[in-house]
């Protein structure tokens, strides 16, 4: 028995050590190349970091807990608008607005989460979608507070500007920090008791409740954590864009991109959404440059192929393949088909 635990501890140590080393190296590279990249590239990579953070956040409620939030962008928008409003109306600094936006989004998640998380499957997905669309309309209809359909601008010059505009370099590091933060949170959740509870809820909610997991509380906390992360990313986005409109901040396409990255990369893992974000953003940028008019068309095709061929996502597919020594794609298709 003692040799078994010794072997296990060594394996655990390897599990934590190797990815951490990779992570540190990756961050070092990212920091080093920063000064050599032109503005356009910096912005493109910032967007990748942004989506890394967003997909990690979605993974917590959608991947681990299995509640596919199709309205996740609502937290992006709420966080973003919170920052815009407090910076404009009450001259908050960005650094104060950032965490508060996260908290604001998390509070909102708790309020809507309690009723919505009682719904299952499709119902939860579309209820959250309806919530996101509805909040966009609410924002449009409160022009005195939010500028309504005409948009709102964060002050970056003059006496209202409390924080200096970060510029391409600054935002590069801001989003990098948010991405690192989100990966750390994702890893912590994945490894600890809470994460196992979420997985149990996902894989069999009745059994989870029967072994003592407070499923209501766990789901709401997971939702709030993912909202917190998403809200902060929204705040960063708003500061970067300066002028924002409801259609963009609550755009369902942002949610869909998040979900695609997680699903294609491998939901329920930490590495999966990371790879998914990197991969999909590169593909999307490439398509946008070289096939501008057909870009959505091809992206749609990629989604379809990915979902049919590797529905469990790349990382899960590889892990299972390594375990069962079976990499057959045909078997993969057979698994879910009628």
């Amino acid at each position: 028995m003692s040799t078994l635990s010794a072997v296990k501890t060594k394996r655990n140590w390897q599990r934590s050590f190797v990815p951490s080393v990779f992570g540190v190296i990756a961050v070092a590279i990212a920091t080093a190349v920063e000064s050599h990249l032109p503005g356009g590239e910096l912005r493109a990579i910032s967007t990748i970091f942004m989506f890394i953070a967003l997909s990690q956040a979605w993974n917590i409620i959608g991947g681990f807990t299995g509640y596919a939030s199709f309205g996740q962008v609502v937290f992006f928008g709420m966080g973003g608008y919170f920052t815009a409003v407090v910076m404009l109306k009450w001259q908050f600094t960005f650094w104060l607005a950032l965490p508060l936006s996260g908290l604001f989004a998390a509070a909102f998640a708790v309020i809507i989460g309690v009723p919505l998380l009682r719904l299952k499957g499709h119902y939860f997905a579309i209820a959250t979608l309806g919530m996101a669309e509805g909040m966009r309309e609410v924002v449009i209809n409160l022009p005195d507070l939010t500028g309504g359909g005409a948009g709102i601008s964060v002050p970056i010059a003059g006496k209202f500007a409390k924080t200096e505009y970060l510029g391409d370099n600054g935002f590069y590091f801001l989003f990098l920090a948010l991405a690192i933060f989100s990966i750390i949170i994702g890893t912590i959740v994945s490894r600890n008791k809470f994460g196992y509870g979420l997985r149990a809820i996902h894989q069999n909610e009745d059994a989870a409740a029967a072994v003592g997991i407070n499923t209501v509380r766990s789901k709401v906390i997971a939702y709030a954590i993912s909202a917190f992360m998403t809200g902060m990313v929204g705040a960063g986005y708003v500061f970067q864009q300066v002028t924002i409109f409801p259609e963009r901040l609550f755009d369902v396409e942002i949610t869909v991109l998040m979900i695609m990255m997680v699903v294609i990369g491998g939901s329920g893992t930490v590495v999966g959404p990371l790879l998914g974000a990197l991969g999909l953003q590169f593909i999307s940028e490439y398509l946008r440059e070289h096939f501008t008019s057909m870009h959505t068309f091809i992206l749609g095709g990629i989604i379809i192929l990915a979902v049919i061929l590797i529905p469990q996502g790349a990382v899960n597919y590889l892990r299972e393949g390594r375990r069962t020594k079976n990499y057959s794609l045909l078997a993969n298709i057979r698994r879910y088909r009628l």
């Binding site: 008791k193 509870g197 997985r199 894989q203 029967a210 072994v211 209501v216």
Partner: protein, 252 residues
Amino acid sequence: MSNAPILETRGLGRRFGALDAVSDVSFSVPAGQILGVIGPNGAGKSTFINLVTGHIKPTSGKVLIDGKDMTGASPWTVARAGVARTFQIVKPFSGMTVRENIAVGVLYKAQGSNRMSAALNEADQILHEVGLAGFGDRMPSELSTADVRRLEFAKALASRPRLLLLDEVMAGLRPTEIEPSLELIRKLKASGTTVIVVEHVMKAIVAVSDRVLVLAQGKVLMEGAPREVLANPKVIEVYLGHRYAKRQKGNE
């Protein structure tokens, strides 16, 4: 240790629309006893378990665990009070290994630790007790029917419960597979666990129960010592039908 029975129900009932799945069920189980619950299909046995464990809320009556009112409590509250159960249609955590399946229960029991490694070790021990040693790294989908039922049993043992409700754990098992389960139940009783066994397999009920409760059409038909209950003509009638009972009577 209080003198209250570990489980007591008073007038427990659950109505679904016009159907009284369970009605006016009152009984109590003293700590350390093995209670067998039998009844024909549709008698409300599974509903009864769900009412006790909080998976379904009763529409009437009370559930008291250790003298405390737990009527309508949520399943996790009941679990934390030291109650565990198995499901008739097994509910494993499909994406986790067998060991992890049990470890989750260890993590989340009342005063459970937060450390995964300790939970995994405890899980290994439980695997040993139910006869699944060596299966720890398998996935539930890879297990045979008998083994997956053992896993279900093991998951219920994870929290070292004081009251264990077994919902037809013997169903579909061969005789050689039933005996180890009976042994396990006897060992549990010896260590002070109260066990409620809902079963169809009469041999098992007779072999292991201290008392037997008979449910029919949602109500308590009778309660008593195993041999007595099983020989009772009303019980036979409820299982085998009115005509059979008449024929038996005619043969006497």
